[in-house]
C-alpha cells in the first residue's frame, strides 16, 4: 500500500512504507510515539529511577526501527538472518523496553517490575529480557559489538543489517573511533550507526563538555557515508533508513538531530532531566501534554 503525506523537511512527499505485516502508516507511528512516551514516563515514575530525557530523545528512532525497518519480532528472534539492533547508549533502556513490549516480546505489565527486587528488567539493556541483543550500559561498547556482528554477516554471506544507537556525549569514548576504523576497513555497508545528536550529556552541552564539532567531517574522515536527519520526525526517519546503504562499501552513519526530553515542554533540551524522575505534579502535567498531542494527531487524520 502506498502512503502519502505532506512534504516534510524537504524529503519526498510519498513513500511506500509497506513491509510485510509491519505495514503501518505515519499517523499510526506518530501515535505510537506518543503512547511510548507515556509508557516511558509511567515506568520511570513507578520505579523511581530512569534516564528520562535520553529515552524521550530516541523514542521516534526506536519506533521507526522496530515498526518499520528491522526484520525482528518475537518469533524470529533466534533466526540468524534477523536484523540486529544494539543500543550502545544503554541508559535509555526505558525506551527500548517500551518498544519491545509493544512489539510483543513481553507484556507491558511486565514492565511494572522495572528496577524492582529480583526483576529481570534492570536499568540497562540485558539479554535476560527477550528481544535484547546485547548487554550494554557502559558507554562506548555498542559500536565495536555491532562491527563484529556486521563482519560476521559478510563472512557468512547473510543479508541482515546491524543497527546501533550511540549518544553524542558517548562519542568521547575512544573505543567508538577504534570501531569506526574497523568498520571502514571492512567496508561494512551493512552497518548503520545512528547518533542521537541531542547536544546534551550529563554535565551540559556536548560542545561545552568536550567539543564534537565538526562531527560530520570527523565521521567522513573515518570512512563513513554520512546523512543527517531530524531524529524526532517519523517520515524523515523512514526516508533515511530506506536509503541504506548510502554508498556501497561504506559504513552508514546517520546523525539524528534530536531534542533531549522530546515531547514534554518542560523537559525538552534541559540538562537536568538526564536522569531525573518527575514529581507527581510534573508527571501529571507531562501526561496531560501527551494526551493533548494524541488528540491533535487524531484530529489531523
Amino acid at each position: 500500500m502506498g502512503l502519502h503525506f505532506i512534504d516534510y523537511w524537504g524529503y519526498p512527499s510519498a513513500l511506500d512504507v509497506t513491509q510485510g505485516d509491519r505495514e503501518m502508516d505515519v499517523q499510526t507511528l506518530q501515535l505510537k510515539s506518543v503512547a511510548y512516551r507515556k509508557t516511558i514516563l509511567e515506568i520511570i515514575k513507578q520505579s523511581g529511577a530512569g534516564h528520562t530525557a535520553g529515552s524521550l530523545s530516541c523514542t521516534d528512532i526506536l519506533n521507526v526501527l522496530y515498526n518499520h525497518v528491522l526484520n525482528v519480532d518475537p518469533d524470529n528472534f533466534a533466526d540468524p538472518n534477523r536484523d540486529r539492533y544494539i543500543q550502545s547508549k544503554g541508559h535509555s533502556v526505558e525506551a527500548l523496553y517500551t518498544v519491545l513490549a509493544d512489539r510483543g516480546f513481553y507484556s507491558r505489565e511486565a514492565l511494572a517490575t522495572l528496577n524492582k527486587y529480583k526483576s529481570k528488567f534492570i536499568g540497562h539493556p540485558t539479554r535476560k529480557v527477550h528481544g535484547i541483543e546485547q548487554n550494554t550500559g557502559a558507554l562506548g561498547h555498542g559500536l565495536s559489538i555491532a562491527v563484529g556482528t556486521a563482519i560476521a554477516a559478510k563472512k557468512d554471506g547473510r543479508s541482515y543489517r546491524v543497527y546501533t544507537l550511540l549518544g553524542d556525549g558517548e562519542l568521547a569514548e575512544g573505543s567508538s573511533w577504534e570501531a569506526s576504523m574497523t568498520a571502514a576497513h571492512y567496508q561494512l555497508d551493512n552497518l548503520v550507526v545512528i547518533i542521537d545528536r541531542n547536544t546534551l550529556q550529563i554535565t551540559g552541552r556536548t560542545e561545552e563538555v568536550s567539543s564534537l564539532e565538526p562531527l560530520e567531517d570527523k565521521f567522513r574522515a573515518f570512512g563513513y557515508a554520512v546523512r543527517h536527519v531530524d531524529g524526532n520526525d517519523i517520515p524523515a526517519l523512514i526516508q533515511i533508513f530506506e536509503q541504506v546503504p548510502f554508498v556501497p562499501h561504506k559504513p552508514n552513519l546517520i546523525i539524528a538531530h534530536t531534542v533531549k526530553g522530546k515531547g514534554i515542554s518542560f523537559m525538552e533540551d534541559t540538562v537536568k532531566w538526564h536522569h531525573r524522575v518527575p514529581t507527581d505534579e510534573e508527571f501529571a502535567k507531562a501526561i496531560e501534554e501527551l494526551e493533548l498531542a494524541e488528540v491533535k494527531l487524531k484530529a489531523a487524520v
Binding site: 534492570i122 536499568g123 548487554n135 550500559g137 557502559a138 568521547a172 569514548e173 568536550s210
Partner: protein, 316 residues
C-alpha cells in the same frame, strides 16, 4: 548510630576546602562532576577542574600527565568504569610510572543498585590489589572519608579511593586516630571478629549489637585500607577471638576476605572463618540495601553466619 551524609559528598566538600587554599590541587572529571558532587567545585574553582568528557581511559592518562608535573590530581569517575576500562592506564601510567594520581571511584560497589552489573564495581579490590604501587582505601563513614582525603594529601604513592552514593551511619568518635594502613577497632568482643570495609562496616556493627543481645560478643574492625594491609589486626583477631567473619561490598573472590585468609594460612592460624560478600553469580536486581540483604550482608544475615561459625567451632 546517626545517619551522616554520603561519603562521596564528604569527599567533595573536603577537597573543595583544601583546594581553595592550594591551587596545585586539580580535579579531573569525565562527565562525572554531578555524580561526584563536584558541581560547586567547578563553579568556585573553574581553573582547578579539567573535564575530558565521557572518556575514562583518557581521564586517567591525562591525570597521570598532570601529576607528573607536580600537581595534586584527583581523577573522579564511577568506580566501575575507572577500574575496568581505565585499568591499563592505572597500571601503567599511574602505578608503574609512579605518577601519584588519587583515583577516586565514586558510586562504588553496588551503589548503583538496579542499574546492574555494568555499573557495579565488585572487582576493584581484586584488580588493584595485584598491581604494585597503588594503595587502596574504602572508608566506612564520613569521619574516615574526611581523614582519608586529608591523609592522601601527603601520601607518597598513587592511591585508589572507593566511595558510595548513599548516606552512611557515623561510626566513630571524633577523637579516633585514623592512619592509612591501620584498621580501626570499633567494638571489642571475645567470640567473633567482624573484619569489614567500606559501607558494610555499619552492617557488621548492627550484627554485633544483635548478637550481643544473645550473649555473643563481637570485635568489629573497620579495615578501611586494603593496601597496605593491616596483617597484625587480622592475626590478633585470630588469636584473641574464636571466629572471623569478613564482610565486603565486593566479590568474595580477590578482596578483603581472601586477603585475610592468605595471612591466616601463611601464619598457620586456623579459626572458623567465613568470607561474606557478593557471590560469583549474576547479581540480584535491587537497591544497594536489597542486594546487601539478599546476600546476607545484614544484621540478621551476619548474625546467622556468626552463630553457624560458632557452632562449628563448638562441635569440632
Amino acid at each position: 548510630m546517626e545517619l551522616g551524609k554520603p561519603n562521596q559528598d564528604i569527599f567533595a566538600t573536603t577537597l573543595l576546602d583544601l583546594a581553595q587554599n592550594d591551587p596545585t590541587i586539580l580535579v579531573v572529571t569525565s562527565d562525572s562532576r554531578g555524580s561526584g558532587k563536584l558541581v560547586p567545585f567547578g563553579q568556585m574553582l573553574p581553573n582547578q577542574i579539567v573535564e575530558v568528557g565521557i572518556a575514562e581511559q583518557n581521564l586517567v592518562g591525562v591525570s597521570a600527565g598532570l601529576a607528573s608535573t607536580g600537581k595534586k590530581v584527583f581523577a573522579v569517575s564511577p568506580a566501575c568504569f575507572l577500574t575496568t576500562r581505565a585499568l591499563e592506564q592505572i597500571k601503567n601510567d599511574v602505578a608503574y610510572s609512579n605518577n601519584p594520581v588519587r583515583i577516586i571511584g565514586i558510586s562504588a560497589g553496588v551503589s548503583y543498585g538496579a542499574l546492574g552489573s555494568t555499573h557495579h564495581s565488585l572487582h576493584d579490590f581484586a584488580a588493584l590489589r595485584t598491581i604494585n604501587n597503588i594503595d587502596i582505601l574504602a572508608p566506612a563513614d564520613n569521619f574516615e572519608t574526611r581523614q582519608a582525603v586529608l591523609a592522601a594529601m601527603h601520601h607518597p604513592r598513587p592511591l585508589y579511593f572507593r566511595f558510595g552514593k548513599r548516606p552512611v551511619y557515623d561510626l566513630h568518635a571524633p577523637d579516633t586516630i585514623f592512619q592509612i594502613g591501620k584498621a580501626i577497632r570499633l567494638r571489642e568482643g571475645r567470640d567473633v571478629t567482624f573484619i569489614a570495609s567500606g559501607e558494610t562496616v555499619a552492617r557488621a556493627m548492627l550484627a554485633a549489637l544483635h548478637l550481643e543481645e544473645a550473649g555473643i560478643t563481637c570485635r568489629v574492625l573497620s579495615m578501611h585500607t586494603l593496601k597496605p594491609f593491616d596483617s597484625e589486626a587480622v592475626i590478633q583477631a585470630a588469636r584473641e577471638t574464636h571466629a572471623i567473619i569478613t564482610v565486603e561490598e565486593h566479590s568474595v573472590f580477590g578482596g578483603l576476605g581472601e586477603a585475610c585468609a592468605s595471612i591466616l594460612m601463611q601464619r598457620g592460624l586456623v579459626v572458623p572463618f567465613k568470607i561474606v560478600g557478593i557471590p560469583d553469580e549474576d547479581t540480584v536486581t535491587g537497591s544497594q540495601s536489597e542486594i546487601f540483604d539478599h546476600y546476607g550482608i545484614s544484621a540478621e544475615g551476619l548474625a546467622t553466619t556468626a552463630r553457624t561459625l560458632l557452632q562449628v567451632e563448638q562441635s569440632s
